[in-house]
Amino acid sequence: MLTISHLTKHYKGSNKGITDLSLNIEAQDIYGFIGHNGAGKTTTLKCIAGIHGFDSGTIIIDGIDISKNPIEAKKRFAYIPDNPDLYEYLTGIQYLNFIADIFKIEKEERTKQIKNYSNQFELTSSLGDLISTYSHGMKQKLVIIAALIHQPKLLILDEPFVGLDPKSTVILKEIMNNICLNGGAIFFSTHILDVAEKLCNKIAIIKDGKLVISTNIEQVVNSGMSLESMFMEVLKDDVSN
């Protein structure tokens, strides 16, 4: 579903970025991407989403190279950022219609999807109001709905549970599971290791732009360690080095 090979991206005038990162996400994976602040999680996700260019490597989404055919690749996934900077001058429904138009979703299908997800997230009554009046959590919900209405095969999320109320968190987890059951995949970054441990079947830990661990959650559990202690070990190795 998503293959990242030897991805390298460094920001100009800085040594920050990602170096030689390789990952493989298959259908039905819920892949957790964990790392400390400034490790390179958001940079990785933005490279996949086509927001940033990168220095070298390849990113293949559902068999399509994002560098060679970005339009086709972008039709197959949806990206949800950590900070929902949306068009404050649009109403919620205008934004959803905008996204639906870009993905050329037919009238009946978009009505059905918007009704379904906005009811689940209890956002329907606010869709007629300007996004500038929304709270952070409401914006987060709107961005999630917009990501789901074109039924992407791959969902890329950057810290999706930040700002969501508990009910919406449960709903989002259910949606993620459903996407995987239907042959899709999820790739998300998070700081909440409990969520990653319970929700994901695979995880990767990134440190200072480099991938240090990529494994099944089962192996972590079977080793007798918690994800948290594994993460702390990884960080400790750096300190002792």
Binding site: A49, I51, Y89, S125
Partner: protein, 528 residues
């Protein structure tokens, strides 16, 4: 309180003209762009210097040196008044920063004063750029004594105060009125444009009264100009003459009046600041939406509609760009009502008027267009377009189309007035329509090209992008420059060959527009 004012003012001033970002930015590409902006400003300052030196020299040469200080003070004041009115909502009542400061133990009037100080410092710099070259010419030719220099130089700190007080007062009233109304932006746009058109009309009315000059007026030129300045801005005359006559008492009275006025205005604004701020940023929610039937639109339509909504959501974006087509419309209405013979009668080549008008009309349209800042104004939302399955062409086409659709009604109405006024034959009609069309197309595409080269996404307020960015300055200058070059050629070539100038203009502008259009569409927006 003084320490709070000092701390907050430093915070406001630290990034004056983007200096702090330039200082600490390690991105070489961004630094290079800053150099381009600095170069643009240097060019503009050079033009300004030349203009001031030119008219100062001219006035002194015809023996009118006594009115030079008043003239300079009037120009500075008009510039500050005109530009500051548009800044009040975006700078004085800026949301950015206020939400961080308001929970802190800081007085409201401290916030108002610190924001005023940042505007004041900018205006001092503008005042110096106009005053110093005039002073240099005056000093070189007239050789006044030291008191003159002291009075004139020290006045630079007080000249901006009254125009600033007026623009803050008017701007606050506009912001205050619009903040209480649901459709704040439209009210703010309407009021801001009305006020600025009033300023343009009033000042041009006074300067155009030179067309009524009689022989007696010419022989008493300084009185004539003085009467005009007295009607326009009497304070400039009082201050100017106090400097010339070394009348320290009058000079001191003038600067005291300006100080008292600005203090009063700041006190009034501080008193009402929180009420206006609260109303300005209060939002209406109905919270009663029910999903009905939804429409499907094409990608171009949906992107263009989004551009329009973005445009009209910002009073600063609108007021700073709509002036261009309004001025073009005003020009055509003036031609219709006063007749082109009257307007062009003072020119030796008035028979060239029919040839000149399309170029002047075109130049007016291109001074400030929307595409020049449309990419930068995406700001923090830029990620949305980049992550969607959209081609560069689709994204940029919508920006160009919005600009063209916006200009269309002004263009059509202006053309009607020009056609009625000039009653051109078929060929002249063709040039009247074709020349501005070609330049408007080029200007729109050029705006995109320049904004792709000099994008700025991490802005604090829209004023810095719409009014002060490299992109907006270069694009405005570019369109005008092309127009002026061909106007000059019209004067140079024999009358029989003016048709070739027009043909060359259309071909040149269209070819450049097409080349730039295709080049823009090749841009990989990931790198922007």
């Amino acid at each position: 309180m003084m320490s709070q004012i000092s701390t907050l003012s430093k915070l406001e001033l630290i990034n004056l003209f983007g200096f702090n970002v330039f200082r600490y930015n390690k991105d070489k590409k961004a630094k290079r762009k800053s150099y381009y902006l600095i170069f643009t400003y240097i060019l503009l300052i050079a033009f300004l210097f030349s203009y001031v030196v030119g008219f100062s020299y001219g006035l002194i040469q015809i023996g009118q040196y006594s009115i030079l200080p008043a003239y300079i003070i009037t120009i500075i004041s008009l510039i500050i008044l005109f530009f500051d009115i548009f800044k009040i909502e975006g700078v004085l009542f800026s949301r950015q920063g206020y939400e961080i400061l308001s929970p802190l133990p800081i007085y409201t009037h401290v916030i108002v004063i610190s924001r005023f100080i940042s505007m004041y410092v900018e205006n001092i710099i503008i005042s110096c750029l106009i005053l110093l070259p005039g002073l240099f010419v005056y000093g070189y030719l007239i050789k006044p004594d030291l008191i003159f220099y002291f009075l004139f130089l020290f006045s630079v700190f007080f000249i901006p105060l009254i125009p600033m007080a007026l623009s803050i007062f008017i701007g606050t009233i506009i912001t205050g009125i619009s903040s209480r109304i649901k459709h704040k932006n439209f009210v703010s746009i309407f009021l801001s444009i009305s006020v600025s058109l009033f300023i343009i009309f009033t000042s041009s009315k006074f300067s155009s009264s030179t067309s009524d000059i009689t022989i007696e007026m010419l022989t008493n030129l300084s009185d004539t100009i003085m009467n005009i300045l007295k009607k326009l801005y009497p304070f400039a005359v009082w201050l100017g003459f106090s400097i010339i006559n070394k009348d320290i008492i009058t000079w001191f009275l003038c600067i005291s009046i300006s100080l008292i006025i600005i203090v009063l205005v700041l006190l009034i604004v501080s008193k009402f600041f929180q009420i206006i701020y609260k109303n300005l940023y209060s939002t209406y929610t109905k919270n009663n939406y029910k999903i009905g039937s939804l429409k499907k639109e094409s990608i171009l339509f949906t992107l263009t509609m989004r551009e329009f909504r973005r445009y009209f959501s910002s009073s600063i974006y609108v007021t700073n760009t709509i002036i261009s087509p309004i001025m073009a419309l005003g020009f055509s209405i003036a031609i219709y009502y006063f007749g082109f013979e009257v307007i062009f009668s003072q020119y030796e080549y008035h028979n060239l008027a029919l040839d000149l008008i399309p170029f002047i009309f075109a130049g007016a349209f291109c001074m400030m267009n929307t595409t020049a800042t449309s990419i930068s104004l995406e700001g923090k939302n830029w990620w949305i377009l980049k992550s969607l399955p959209l081609t560069t062409k689709e994204i940029l086409d919508a920006k160009i189309l919005m600009n063209l659709i916006l200009y269309l009604p002004f263009f059509i109405v202006s053309q009607i007035f020009l056609i009625l006024a000039l009653t051109p034959n078929l060929l002249d009609l063709l040039w009247l329509v074709l020349i501005p069309t070609c330049l408007i197309l080029l200007s729109c595409v050029l705006g995109i090209s320049i904004n792709l080269k000099f994008p700025v996404f991490n802005w604090k307020n829209e004023v810095s992008i719409v009014k002060q960015s490299t992109s907006s300055l270069f694009t405005g200058m570019g369109g005008l420059f092309i127009s002026i070059i061909f106007i000059i050629l019209l004067f140079i070539v024999p009358n029989n060959y003016t048709i070739f100038i027009k043909i060359a203009f259309c071909i040149f502008t269209l070819i450049i527009a097409v080349i730039l259009y295709f080049k823009n569409n090749q841009t990989d927006l990931k790198e922007i």
